[in-house]
Every structure is written in structure tokens, then in C-alpha cells.
Symmetry: C2
Subunit: 329 residues, 2 copies
DNA sequence: CTGAAAGCGCTAACAC
DNA sequence: GTGTTAGCGCTTTCAG
């Protein structure tokens, strides 16, 4: 595969490389016939601009880095879809990296992505903490963080207020006198769980009670299902809230095992759901986090950051819509 | 953000840029103390090599392009995970692109990916046909195609023999005298469905019968579920085979709706499954396509192609493992 | 063991 | 309108 360069095209069309550059960049000063000649040459030679060289010369790559956790691709997948859809509109390329719990340091990953000179990066990761975000800020590159609120000039965050979502729902139950509420730990989503518990605590506090329903899965149990099957033998709940739908399914299965009827004996709600929630019986009531939008909005705002368009907020809250289904009364 | 270049490091360390280049590339001829000086300078300045410039100079980017369909990220997600895991080992970066049915031409997508001078590309897409693969071959770039057998020197295919899988299973039923078998169309996976039907046809033919169980979902129905709920009122099956688990779930739900008991009245099998299959009741028997391996093996073989290591086959068949679960007797 | 210099492919002033 | 030329940041002979 011999590569054809801008020089080859120039020679073929009998013009200088500057002119070729002009036509491939749509600079509108080239005479029509010259342009035609150049285009013919490009076609004939099958010339494709080398994005690398362009990137070097322009100091921009029209590529953004995307960092997501490796697991749970159904929800993440939606985010990616949303992001890619708008990336395509603005002609951005995506460099994808995944973080593996424990194994890979988030900052390392961002580091390798930055080496390839992306124009900006989008991060979705539940393991973010203050130390990491501080490191990220130092990279001083346009960045948007999904589902984690951060405040920094170079960083925009796009998120849903999970704390509030849980707070509102829990309050609703407390008002009705239902106060045996459990929140299931999700090992992969510390941050989200923390927010959920915070929301619950706030609701309980306002009701003059104290929240004590955090269901930590002991490490000897490999799955929530295994633990809950045991746990439900001794404990009963009015409502169980899980982060992802898969956990809600596990909860429901564990309940069935103990002859606990959903939703009559116990109700179940999850925060994020996937298409599988529509195929399962009973379907789980959820907050329907706008996964696709999370990705799409993030990319959209990143394009604005990249062109120094400041007509946007640095903390963008997307709303959720609580959707009751068959797992609640 | 002022960028620090190799020149800055050279000046700081009082050496030439050639020397700096040597140390960052681990060329082992630099005297220890010079090396130390350079490393100190790198550290002090926070220098990060510009992968773009390296790519230009080296004519290789250590980046591969990955093209996948936009939907169904759970199975695709596993492929991506597998691919990324081995990509990380070999220090490859990933440029991700998705194909959208109808909207984006696969060849266009590959084209934009090639412009960024990736060293190779991996494609997973069910809409591939002979015309497209022919175009792909012309790009003359190391390429591996997942789940679609192609024969070309520059292309390696990594796949599971779905035709055989279905053939074997169907034969098994036919032998037992069960010959009301349906295969559900999957609009997003033409190719896979075609293979499934081929397998069924072969089995029927060998049994001296003719297969007529291809369940085409009429276009006025938006979901398989909607159609099957109707369809099962009039038709009955011994076995229904779906491509993905989500379709199997739909089938099961539609069956329940018609008081058809799974697996007693009708059995259900799917080809690919996701983690959701373990959370659903009844769990669906499946062929357990090795999604993760599909990605991992593809990346592994691509690295071999890229270093002209020819110790591999150009058609790599991965095996499936038929896993009976609760949806079959 | 280290430095000088050419070249990777392209863009963007600056001339003409 | 079009051509010339100096970078963009790095690698790699080739000298020394």
C-alpha cells in the first residue's frame, strides 16, 4: 500500500500543494477549473488526507477521548450511543478507553488518552473521588464529567440529581407510613450509592426518623441475589431501592424465593434501567435516567467548550422521570 | 496550556533532541548519567510525547479502529471489553465508530477511520455483505471481521459457526420427532438469521422434511412481542429459536400471554445471551457465544497481523457451548 | 555515546 | 488566485 500524499496530488494536478490544501479544506478562493483539476487528481489517485499530519499542523485533532467503566455496557452503551450520535454531527472522532476496577488508575488512562492529543475528554465513572478530580483538573484540558458533580473552570459536569430522586421517593413512602426501606449496595457504583443513601437519610431526618436500611452485601457473597435470598428470610421491607435494574431483578428473584410477593408484600424500585426492564416480569419501576441524553448532552457541551463558546452552564442537571411500573403498588 | 516539547526537554537537560528521543524510546545506548539528566528534565517539565508527531514520523499510530453497530451494547459491550483488555496489553489505542442502520454507510465509516491512520481495524457488523467486504478489501489495511466469514489475504475473520449450531440443535429435535420449529427474524441481524435458517434447512432436509418455520415479523408490528402475542394464538411450536436473549424473553412473554407453558408446551432457545439471562425466569437455554473471546481473539490476531507474524489462521472459528437452562426440557 | 539534519504530511502566513 | 516556505513534534540515519 503506497500512500499518496498531498504532493502527489499537486503534481498530478499541476498545482502547488497549497492549492490542494485549499480545496480539501474548502477554502473558497480557488478558481473553479483549478479546483476541478485538483478534485479529479484526488479522485484518480484515491488520496485521503492524513489526519495525523493535519492534527500536527493545526494543533487540533477533532478527536475526543471517552473514558467509561468496562462493565455494565447496557447503560453505558446508551451513553456512548448518545455521545457518538452528536460526535458524528460535529465530525469528531472518539478514542475509547475503559477503566477496570482496581487494575487501572483513572488518571493513567486519561494520561494515555491525552498523549494522543485529543481535543477534549468525556469521563463517565462512578469511582471518581475528590483526589482524582483534582488530578484531572490539572491536565487542564476541556473535559466533561458524567454523573458526578464537579466544579472547575475547565470541567463541565452533566448529571442527574440522584440524591434528590431518592429523597423524593422515600419521602413519599414515609408520608404514607411505610418506613421499612432498604437500599442495596452496588459494589461497582460507590458514588451513586452514596448519593442514594444521602437522599434517604435526608428524607428520614425530615420525618424525624433515622435511616438504617443500607443493605451492604457481605464480601463472602458473590452476588446480591445470594445474599438477599438469605436476608429476606429474616427481614422484611416495604420498599427496596436498587441502583441498576439487574440488581432489582436479583432482588425480585430473591423475594420470590422467599414467597414474598412483589409488589403486594414488598415494592422494588431501581434508578437506572435498560431495555431488559421492558422484557422482565414484573417490570421494575424506575427513575429512567436519561442515559442517551447524558451522552448526547455531554458531547454537545464539549463541542461548545472546544470552540470557546461560553453559552452554557458548567453544571448541567438533567432531569429524571419517575416511572411507576409493576413492581410498585 | 503551554505544551512542552522534546526541544524543551533537550534544552533543560542540555542534550540534543536526538538523545531525548532515545531515552523516551528506551534505545539502550545512552549513558546512564545522561539518561538520568533527561529523565529528570522530563519529570520536571511534565513532558508527554506527542503521539501525533510520533505517528507521523513512524508511520504507525499504535491505534486501531473499531467499528460496531450502535445498538445492542450488551453483547457488543462484551466484545469491546475483550478487545480493550488485550489492546491494553499491547498498548494499542482504540478509535471507536458505530454504524447506524440505514444512516451511515459502513464503508464511509471505515473511510473516516482510515484517515486517522489507524494501523488496523476490527469490524463487527451483521449487515456486512459481499459488496461491502469487497470494498473493505480494497482499503488494503490489516483488518479483522467478527462473526462474518470472509476470505482475503488482508482480512482475518473470527467467528462462531451459527449455521452449525442451529443445525445440530434442530437435528436433535427432529430426531425426537419434534418438528414444529420456529426461527424468529431479527431485523438488526440479517446475516445471523440467514445462517440460522440455513442450519435449520439443512437439518430438515437431511430428515427428509422441509423447513417452513421462519417467523418474519410483519413490518406493521413494532416489536416481536406484539406480533408473537398474536401469532401464538393460532400457531403452536415445539421449539422457538431466537437470535438474542431479549427476543427470547419477548417470546416467552408472548407465550405466557397465551397460556403456553415454557418449557412444557413450547421450548425456547437463543443464540447470544447477556448477563440479563441469568436474572430472568425462566432462564433461556442458549449457545453462549463467547462474546468476550470474540473481541479478545480479534485484537490478539490483529496485533499479529500488524507485526507480520504469520502464525495464525485467516479464518478463526471459536466454539460455542450449548447450555441448557430452564426454557428447554 | 551524542549531535546535526532530513523527513513524516499538512497548514497558514506571506509573497507574487 | 496560486506558489513558497516555515513550522507542527518526533524519529532516524549518518557523522563525529
Amino acid at each position: 500500500m503506497k500512500r499518496v500524499t498531498i504532493y502527489d496530488v499537486a503534481r498530478e494536478a499541476n498545482v502547488s500543494l497549497a492549492t490542494v490544501s485549499r480545496v480539501i479544506n474548502g477554502v473558497d478562493v480557488v478558481r473553479a477549473d483549478t479546483r476541478a483539476r485538483v478534485e479529479a487528481a484526488i479522485e484518480k489517485l484515491g488520496y485521503k488526507p492524513n489526519a495525523l499530519a493535519q492534527g500536527l499542523a493545526l494543533q487540533k485533532t477533532t478527536t475526543i477521548g471517552l473514558v467509561v467503566p468496562e462493565a455494565s455496557f447496557s447503560f453505558t452503551g446508551n451513553i456512548i450511543n448518545g455521545l457518538l450520535d452528536v460526535a458524528r454531527i460535529y465530525k469528531y472522532n472518539i478514542m475509547l478507553q475503559t477503566t477496570t476496577e482496581g487494575i487501572s488508575d483513572i488518571t493513567d488512562i486519561v494520561e494515555t488518552i491525552i498523549k494522543s492529543r485529543v481535543d477534549g475528554v468525556v469521563i463517565y465513572n462512578d469511582q471518581l473521588n475528590d483526589k482524582i478530580t483534582k488530578d484531572l483538573i490539572e491536565y487542564n484540558i476541556p473535559m466533561v464529567v458524567i454523573n458526578h458533580k464537579v466544579s472547575a473552570p475547565q470541567i463541565t459536569s452533566v448529571y442527574v440529581d440522584i440524591e434528590k430522586a431518592v429523597y423524593e421517593r422515600v419521602t413519599d413512602y414515609l408520608v404514607r407510613g411505610l418506613d421499612k426501606i432498604g437500599i442495596i449496595q452496588d459494589r461497582k457504583n460507590n458514588q451513586a450509592c452514596k448519593l442514594m443513601v444521602q437522599g434517604a437519610k435526608r428524607a428520614y431526618k425530615e420525618a424525624g426518623k433515622e435511616f438504617d436500611g443500607y443493605l451492604m452485601i457481605p464480601s463472602e457473597y458473590h452476588t446480591s441475589y445470594a445474599y438477599l435470598s438469605e436476608h429476606f428470610k429474616e427481614n422484611q421491607y416495604d420498599l427496596v431501592i436498587a441502583y441498576r435494574d439487574s440488581q432489582a431483578f436479583a432482588t425480585i428473584n430473591a423475594a420470590k424465593e422467599n414467597n414474598i410477593n412483589i409488589p403486594d408484600d414488598m415494592e422494588v424500585i431501581c434508578v437506572i434501567d435498560t431495555k431488559y426492564n421492558s422484557m422482565v416480569r414484573p417490570q421494575v419501576s424506575s427513575f429512567s435516567l436519561p442515559s442517551y441524553d447524558l451522552g448526547a448532552v455531554s458531547m454537545r457541551v464539549l463541542t461548545k467548550m472546544l470552540k470557546n463558546d461560553n453559552t452554557f452552564d458548567h453544571e448541567i442537571e438533567l432531569s429524571y422521570l419517575y416511572t411507576p411500573r409493576k413492581s410498585t403498588k
